[in-house]
């Protein structure tokens, strides 16, 4: 059986990369407003934590898909250990 041609997830990558770019744009376009709220302390502490989770989801997927699109992937498991 010949090796299957693996389709690269270009579309999905572009979607996540687009969302990530928008998030970074918003972060820096409104940096003074954001920093003002995010450094107020007390219950405002949820804001940076929540932001980190959102970025980790979108940018985490972007970077995962980026390396797949580029063609750098994990080693295929073959041998039984």
């Amino acid at each position: 059986m010949a090796e299957k041609v693996i389709k690269k997830p270009v579309g999905k990558f572009l979607v996540f990369a687009g969302i990530t770019c928008i998030l970074y744009y918003l972060l820096f376009a409104y940096e003074s407003l954001i920093n003002d709220y995010f450094t107020r302390g007390k219950f405002y502490a949820f804001l940076p934590v929540l932001t980190a989770f959102i970025f980790s989801y979108t940018h985490g997927n972007t970077t995962d898909l980026f390396w797949k699109v580029v063609g750098i992937e994990a080693k295929k498991r073959r041998e039984v250990k």
């Binding site: 995010f38 450094t39 405002y44 989770f53 940018h59 985490g60 970077t63 390396w67 994990a74 295929k76």
Partner: protein
């Protein structure tokens, strides 16, 4: 105080080179973290401080990038079977107690001996831990490499549990035994708690708990190196998330700095995690050992500076102090780049071999079908 910090956070004007630098160092730090479970903080925090970021904001912002990075890295490594979630959570929770205790000790030293005393304490902790654990890990890595070169060893032999681990497996304390899938054995949580505690204590002291966490999982619990480094990411996630919340509660997190580092570090952490699929366990030990020994030199260089600031030795020439400080930072950065170089080298070699193997596989299966 609160207002001063808020003002300081808002006043940092990010230059273009600041942004590029944070993304780049974030990438290299992420690469190392994805591979060995931790790393980068020892270069990132002083770098941010040199940009004019107040120390506590630098620490808080670094932590705010660390936990999402660790989360992404842990999820990736879990796909490769490199994460023992149960062990990571138990170690992570006990590490929290270690962080609180470590921070308390730090505050006490700072109150009694001032900044120089606190810095000296941190440097001595670095030198002791890295000098003992680091050299041991490096020696072990070299031994495993030599073993393989001579054709004597296999992967399973290399990752054989230590005598301490074997002993722990035999001790049965009713009501405290937990089964860990990474070692397929039951171990009392009374043994894992001190390890987690020490990891947290070190994280609060030198900012890199993994220098204790990973070796303790390998040598005391008998966890294979690849799983130990993957599990460390779970511990780092727990410690980082709680730590970020604590700092953010006082308003110390500069989200722009954290997200800029994250921008580079998530590219790195994915690549580092992929890199672990191409190497054997000893490579984790080698990279970790190399970093630890180089940082040992870096911190050792600073000891005379702090001793002179405390007045325990005769005062040093300011030029000499500045030279030592700069050299120490450069050596820190060198540690990170040497580690990144080893990871890249292995990754490129691994990918090249994998591609060659796939071509051979395809050719072989085509040959079979034509027959």
């Amino acid at each position: 105080m609160q207002e001063t910090i808020q003002h300081a956070v808002q006043m940092i004007d990010l230059q273009f080179w600041h942004i590029m630098y944070l993304i780049f160092v974030g990438f290299v730090g992420g690469l190392v973290s994805g591979f060995i479970g931790s790393g980068g903080a020892f270069v990132l925090t002083p770098s941010m401080m040199s940009m004019g970021v107040p120390g506590i904001v630098a620490v808080a912002s670094n932590m705010c990038h660390k936990f999402p990075k660790a989360l992404v890295g842990a999820l990736k490594r879990a796909k490769f079977g490199h994460v023992d979630v149960k062990l990571g959570i138990i170690m992570g929770l006990s590490a929290e107690a270690g962080v609180l205790f470590g921070a308390h000790i730090q505050e006490h030293i700072k109150r009694t001996l001032g900044d120089a005393g606190s810095n000296l304490y941190v440097s001595i902790a670095f030198v002791i831990v890295l000098g003992t654990v680091g050299l041991y890990v490096l020696r072990d890595a070299f031994k495993a490499m030599a073993f393989e070169k001579e054709g004597k060893g296999t992967l399973s032999e290399e990752e054989k549990p230590t005598k301490i681990a074997e002993l722990l497996y035999k001790i049965h304390i009713p009501g405290t035994m937990i089964h860990f899938k990474s070692i397929n054995k039951k171990v009392s949580f009374l043994f894992t708690i001190p390890l987690g505690f020490a990891t947290g204590f070190l994280a609060a002291t030198i900012a890199v708990g993994g220098f204790i966490g990973v070796p303790s999982m390998i040598y005391i619990l008998g966890v294979p190196s690849l799983i130990a480094s993957g599990t460390e990411l779970v511990i780092a996630f727990i410690m980082g998330a709680v730590g970020t919340f604590k700092y953010a509660w006082s308003g110390f997190v500069d989200i722009r700095l954290a997200m800029l580092i994250l921008l580079g570090s998530l590219f790195g952490v994915q690549l580092g995690a992929i890199g672990t699929t191409y190497v054997k366990g000893y490579m984790i030990k080698l990279v970790m050992g190399v970093i630890m020994v180089i940082i040992l030199v870096s911190r050792g260089l600073m000891v005379p500076v702090y001793l002179s600031q405390l007045g325990w030795i005769s005062p040093l020439n300011p030029t000499y102090v500045s030279l030592l400080k700069n050299t120490s930072f450069a050596v820190n950065a060198l540690a990170l780049f040497v580690a990144a170089f080893i990871i890249f080298k292995n990754l490129i070699k691994g990918i090249y071999e994998e591609k060659r193997y796939r071509v051979l596989e395809t050719a072989h299966s085509t040959l079979k079908t034509t027959k």
